[in-house]
């Protein structure tokens, strides 16, 4: 299954080291392929450096694409969207 969803970065400093770290840690439990697209650039969301290189500021829109086994994909998407909504605990 493939799921695609758009989220917005709410954090004041954008997708900086801490939120990027949260994302990477979150995805450690997932078995699916996860990528982020921002301003036409697509990166592997499991790579801390790749997320940082996106340099996504506050209010940037990110398209999350997850592909894999049905249950895992839905669960991963929920977790990620939730993390974005919660400002990654900031």
């Amino acid at each position: 299954m493939k799921l695609i969803k758009k989220v917005q970065v709410k954090n004041r400093l954008g997708l900086h080291t801490r939120p990027a770290t949260v994302i990477v840690q979150l995805l450690q439990n997932s078995k699916s392929d996860v990528s982020f697209t921002c301003r036409r650039e697509t990166v592997n969301a499991r790579s801390l450096l790749s997320i940082l290189m996106l340099a996504a500021r506050q209010n940037s829109k990110i398209t999350i694409t997850i592909e894999g086994q049905d249950d895992d994909v839905s669960q991963t998407m929920n977790n990620l969207v939730n993390a974005f909504e919660m400002n990654f605990g900031e």
């Binding site: 004041r12 080291t17 801390l48 290189m53």
Partner: protein
């Protein structure tokens, strides 16, 4: 040493103080001389395994460094090292490199370098400073992995010869962290600001550090000794035997003098006729508190919380701040600590500048104005401070207050935060004392109104001089006026008089507090506290103990009548008690 090699002095920007003598060691940081060769198919597995081992050793290095720093009581750079660990697990630098080795049939160094260079190029092209700065971490991590892959090409800090004065273009944080004070006598770099991670680590370890050094000149004198004076930012190249003798004697004398003074650490800072002064320390790091206890003090008079920002690439959360503040409070051993709220500048609304760039901090939206404009940040810090205050004697200080209304607004926010903490049972028994920094001239003029609201005053002489005499504090060499100017003396007098009238304590922090020439004046007008950098504590204590309060009052009265700085200084120097 040949006759044609003359002794000479070069200057740089002082970062971390101390006098030292050593031999220059040119630290190689270049990643560009790595071998590139093809590997055969049946050697692929060996090559991949060699790479994995290098990454693994790098991870172990960083973990060991973290433990070492903790043991040394240096808490700085902990977050940076944590990021390094995460980067060492990043697929870009691990699995992708392994795939590159297999597909390209090339050696690990060249594949890794290509990946790293691509990353670096990408980071350097980003418009945001925050994100661009991450390239330093990539470089640091890459260097470490390459040093394990190719043992001869890069230097390792633990393997330096004794008494090395490390010379490098730029100092990576983890290298500063690895330096041992017994081997490394100093750092000389071409670039690197006072608030760079490496600088802060160097200061925390007490290693002299000078930046903006002309490396080309140093190169020419690489074979002899160098003398460095970190506090002055001076380096003496090709020192004559006489100079060396003089400085060796100075080093020994300094050590003996400090040892001697620290014997007095339990003596009270009291004049001969019983006027008691609170002698406190200005601190930035947890390590400062250990040194403070060694020299003896009445507490921390100024904790510059913005240093917390300099060590992280982003704004710390309430939890991170609480952990740090609590650690600090617990290190106080019951003594009070005055925590100043973030004194930082912001040049773009809504975008905090977390680096301490001196020039941009002078005017505009900074310190309390910024905090009031960004209430979530202010609240998070106050919450962390209030929670930490349950573990000791904490006082809160508000920076750059210009008028009573600003103070009132800030206090209202603090009270509100206190109430919300109280609902969750996370509050201390009562709101801690809230003080006002007097550094803006308007606050000094309105001191009587502010004294009604504030629980204490802290006079920031550095900024007060800057604003009152319209003089850039960063232009060290071209300073026309200083805190010895009569305008400053009289302004301070106004502040202290107002404070004494309302019965609130006044502390002086800033360079003036540490200057023994002005101690009689400050004591004489009724200042109750001095807050200085830790190394100044012993000397100041001895100065105060030599004074008689009645004489200090007379000195102050006379000094206030003088109308120019030169007369002030010459009068204070001629003071028979001095």
């Amino acid at each position: 040493m040949g006759d044609d090699v003359k002794e000479m002095k070069i200057r740089g920007v002082p970062i971390s103080g101390g006098v030292a003598i050593g031999k220059p060691y040119f630290f190689t940081l270049s990643e560009s001389h790595f071998p590139e060769y093809a590997i055969r198919e049946h050697d692929i597995d060996i090559e991949v395994s060699r790479f994995r081992k290098a990454v693994d050793l790098s991870r172990k290095d960083v973990k060991r460094l973290q433990k070492q720093l903790e043991k040394e009581g240096v808490h700085e750079a902990a977050a940076v090292l944590e990021t390094h660990l995460q980067m060492l697990q990043d697929t870009l630098l691990t699995t992708d490199v392994e795939a590159g080795i297999r597909q390209g049939l090339k050696n690990a160094e060249s594949v890794f370098c290509t990946v790293v260079q691509r990353c670096e190029k990408k980071f350097m092209s980003l418009p945001d400073l925050f994100f661009r700065e991450r390239v330093k971490d990539v470089k640091d991590v890459a260097r470490r992995v390459l040093s394990h892959l190719c043992a001869t090409a890069t230097d390792r800090m633990p393997e330096l010869p004794q008494d090395a004065v490390v010379v490098a273009y730029e100092l990576p944080t983890s290298e500063a962290a690895e330096a041992s004070t017994s081997r490394v006598k100093g750092f000389l770099t071409a670039i690197g600001g006072a608030t760079s991670h490496a600088a802060i680590v160097a200061k925390a370890k007490g290693i002299p550090c000078i930046t903006e050094v002309d490396l080309a000149t140093l190169e020419k004198c690489r074979d002899g000794h160098v003398v460095i004076d970190g506090g002055r930012g001076e380096i003496i190249l090709n020192p004559t035997p006489g100079t060396l003798r003089r400085y060796r004697k100075l080093c020994r004398e300094q050590e003996d003098y400090i040892e001697d003074l620290t014997k007095d650490k339990d003596l009270k800072a009291e004049t001969q006729d019983g006027y008691r002064v609170m002698l406190s320390a200005n601190v930035e790091t947890v390590a400062d508190t250990s040194l403070m206890h060694r020299y003896g003090s009445d507490g921390v008079g100024l904790f510059r919380s913005e240093y917390v920002l300099a060590l992280r690439d982003q704004f710390p959360s309430e939890e991170e701040q609480y952990t740090l503040y609590r650690t600090l409070v617990e290190r106080m051993q019951g003594l009070p600590i005055v925590m100043r709220a973030f004194d930082v500048g912001g040049d773009k609304p809504g975008r905090l500048q977390t680096t301490l760039d001196g020039d941009e901090r002078r005017f505009g939206e900074r310190a309390i104005r910024l905090l009031l404009q960004e209430p979530e940040i202010f609240r998070a810090q106050i919450r962390a401070m209030l929670r930490a205050s349950r573990h000791g004697d904490v006082r809160i200080l508000l920076p750059m207050i210009a008028c009573p209304q600003e103070f009132q607004e800030a206090k209202a926010l603090i009270d509100d935060v206190y109430q919300s903490l109280k609902k969750n049972h996370e509050a201390p028994t009562k709101v801690p004392p809230i003080g006002c920094m007097i550094e803006v001239p308007s606050a000094a003029v309105l001191a009587d109104a502010l004294a009604e609201q504030a629980d204490f005053f802290s006079i920031g002489t550095n900024d007060l001089v800057q604003y009152t005499l319209a003089q850039d504090r960063s232009e060290q060499s071209s300073r026309r006026y200083s805190y010895g100017h009569p305008a400053i003396l009289r302004l301070i007098h106004v502040v202290v008089t107002a404070a004494v009238a309302k019965g609130i304590p006044v502390t002086v922090c800033g360079e003036m507090a540490a200057d023994p020439l002005f101690t009689p004046f400050l004591v004489g007008i009724g200042v109750q506290g001095f807050s200085v950098a830790v190394p100044h504590l012993p000397v100041l204590r001895r100065r105060i103990r030599m004074l008689k309060f009645v004489d200090a009052v007379a000195v102050a009265d006379r000094a206030l009548q003088l109308s120019d700085e030169e007369s002030v200084r010459s009068f204070l120097s001629s003071d028979p008690e001095g």
